[in-house]
């Protein structure tokens, strides 16, 4: 495969994945609204299209056509750049996620279902998450509004505190897999179905639990969503944003949710492998062999998102000091204990 | 013309250029340390100097295929992180005492 062909195929992959990602973000919003509605014993959006399925399109049009207000006293360069940083980082991190089986390859070993197969894939995602903090920190400060500043400072402090627990909870999985490459981590979970996934057979349930909670805090979602709670801070760091810039923050939050869900499925739930493992033999049709792993991956990410929205609709919000106390005094030591326990288990095996 | 550009694309980068970049960044850090009048910006110039040194370490690690060079960079990063944390806490304490961050007004021990 020549460089030009490689470049064009990669461009196609990037376009397809970005479009699918953006559509998923829009429909995750709909999923959340309908699920939270059902939890609260009401329907959720149901008038636009069948079962409200056209709601995201209409919402997108509304946000696009709203008046774009820029207050006069904001610090313009940072005000304009923060939504770009937030959304950019949220979309970039999907580049290293393998969403299908690498057994179906193109000429020259070209991966169809992963944009970039790098050896430090997990660290890449952690790094992009760290950079994403700037979108929030700078937006609050540049808005020249005390509520925005409070919201963004609290949110950034929360993000960097829980990043620690997030990273540490993943070390157990990396120890078991012996690699930071996301594809190799999934492949190390074997092909024996449900029992060989890191969550069950790998005994990483404590790590999964920690990762779940750190992920809720990282994406500023309930029960850790104090920085953007409307009753507390008049929408926090995105108070002064309207129309497309607000839409970018909104999309960034849901894109982060999806990315975090993808990482959880890759590391704990076995990625693209089916839960039945080798009990059900794969049919010989190459199309089914290519599409079935993608279906399993999407299904697992969907269950993760369902869990996200379920928790949002059920649990009350943490107070800020409770939140920070929880992250530093409970999650981090627990994650370290998990690392020690996993290392001891692996050393004596 | 086409093959000239293609040859240009295939060229390797001599490590001298990396070392020169590192030296220039270090000297820019020194200039920043000397001419900036805000305490935080002076501290940032120090971080720039540390990064420049890291770059030359990695260059030499590449030259001698020595992993120890990269590990030393790792240690420099850790020390810089610790130093940044303590240094910024000191800056906050100075700001609490003097209510200013201008270097020219914090140059005496006496208030």
């Amino acid at each position: 495969m020549t460089i030009l062909q490689f470049f064009l195929w990669s461009l196609l992959k990037v376009i397809v994945v970005t479009v699918v990602m953006l559509m998923s973000v829009a429909y995750t919003v709909l999923l959340e609204r309908k699920l939270v509605g059902r939890i609260q014993n009401r329907w959720g959006p149901s008038r636009v299209g069948p079962f409200g399925l056209l709601q995201p399109l209409v919402d997108g049009a509304k946000l696009f056509l709203k008046e774009d207000l820029v207050p006069s006293a904001v610090y313009r360069p940072l005000y304009l750049i923060s939504p770009i940083i937030a959304l950019g980082c949220a979309l970039i991190s999907i580049a290293v996620v393998p969403f299908g089986s690498p057994d179906v390859t193109g000429p020259g070993g070209f991966h169809f279902f992963q944009i970039s197969d790098i050896n430090i894939g997990l660290l890449f995602i952690l790094g992009i998450t760290s950079i994403g903090v700037y979108g929030i920190a700078l937006s609050g400060w540049s808005s020249n509004n005390k509520y925005s500043l409070f919201g963004s400072l609290r949110s950034s402090a929360q993000l960097i505190s829980y990043e620690l627990a997030l990273g540490l909870s993943l070390v157990g999985v990396v120890l078991r897999a012996g690699s930071l490459n996301l594809r190799e981590i999934v492949e190390s979970q074997g092909n024996h179905g449900l029992v060989s996934w890191n969550l069950f057979g790998g005994f990483q349930f404590v790590a999964f639990f920690i990762y779940l909670m750190a992920a809720y805090a990282e994406t500023n979602r309930s029960p850790f969503d104090l920085p953007e709670a409307e009753s507390e801070l008049t929408a926090g760091y995105h108070t002064e944003y309207s129309s497309m810039k607000f839409a970018m923050f909104f999309m960034a939050e849901y894109a982060n949710m999806i990315t975090v869900g993808c990482v959880a499925t890759l590391l704990f739930l076995g990625g693209w492998t089916s839960p039945f493992g080798s009990l059900i033999p794969l049919p010989q049709n190459i199309l089914v062999q290519a599409l079935l792993p993608i279906f399993w991956f999407v299904f697992k990410v969907f269950t993760f998102l369902f869990l996200y929205v379920w928790v949002r609709g059920t649990l009350p919000r943490f107070r800020y000091d409770q939140l920070m106390n929880f992250g530093w005094c409970y999650l981090m030591p627990l994650a370290i204990l998990n690392i020690v326990a996993t290392s001891l288990w692996l050393a004596y095996k | 013309m086409n093959s000239n550009y293609a040859q240009l694309l295939q060229q390797d980068v001599p490590l001298t250029w990396y070392l020169l970049l590192s030296a220039v960044l270090f000297c820019l850090g020194i200039v920043g340390f000397l001419i900036k009048r805000n305490l935080i910006t002076v501290f940032m110039s120090i971080e720039l100097m540390l990064n420049a040194v890291n770059l030359s370490f990695v260059t030499f690690a590449h030259q001698w295929h020595a992993v120890k060079g990269q590990i030393f960079v790792f240690f420099v990063m850790m020390v810089a992180a610790a130093e940044a944390a303590v240094g910024l806490a000191i800056i906050i304490a100075v700001f609490r005492a003097r209510a200013t961050l201008a270097v020219d007004r914090i140059d005496l021990m006496k208030l």
Partner: protein, 170 residues
């Protein structure tokens, strides 16, 4: 390919460093420094140090610079002023630094035996790095972790003592 990537990202490094010096507001200097650090991460990747590139982004650009940005936002540091001190420093410091740069550049340009860097050179994997870090250099690793612990305790103590002074009658 390596050449183009080097020139682009070295350009970003130099532009960010010069912008750090030129800008008057500390938040702009902080953002320029973030650009420098991310470009340096790419340069480390070009030199085959993939773990260091990731560590540079996670630790430096993603944690240390966030700390700097916090302090700038919290202390509400305003724009700098041109004072007598800064003019004196420019007059004296600039030639001295140019002299230092000239000496360093002469030494570097006269060094023999430096190789080249190319895309085909191998990447140092994380396994190789950890094999040396956790066996031969274990003691410095442990000492560094104690150092970080001391730094945490120190900064918490410093941040706390400011508030402790203000509460009367304690």
């Amino acid at each position: 390919m390596h050449l183009i990537l080097f020139i682009v990202f070295a350009g970003f490094c130099l532009a960010g460093a010069v912008n750090l010096l030129v800008q008057t507001h500390p938040i702009n200097s902080a953002l320029s420094l973030i650009v420098v650090m991310t470009s340096l991460a790419v340069l480390y990747l070009l030199l085959g140090a993939e773990f260091l590139a990731a560590a540079q982004v996670i630790v430096y650009a993603g944690a240390i610079m966030v700390l700097f940005t916090f302090v700038v936002m919290l202390l509400n540091a305003g724009r700098e002023e041109r004072t007598l001190g800064s003019r004196a420093a420019l007059v004296v410091g600039f030639p001295a630094v140019v002299a230092l740069l000239a000496v360093a550049a002469t030494v570097i340009l006269h060094t023999q035996g430096l190789g080249t860097a190319a895309m085909r050179d191998g990447i140092t994997s994380t396994q190789e790095l950890s094999a040396v870090l956790f066996t031969k250099l274990l003691l410095p690793f442990e000492v560094t972790s104690v150092l970080i612990l001391i730094a945490i305790l120190g900064s918490v103590a410093l941040a706390r003592s400011g508030e402790g002074e203000r509460t009367p009658g304690e």
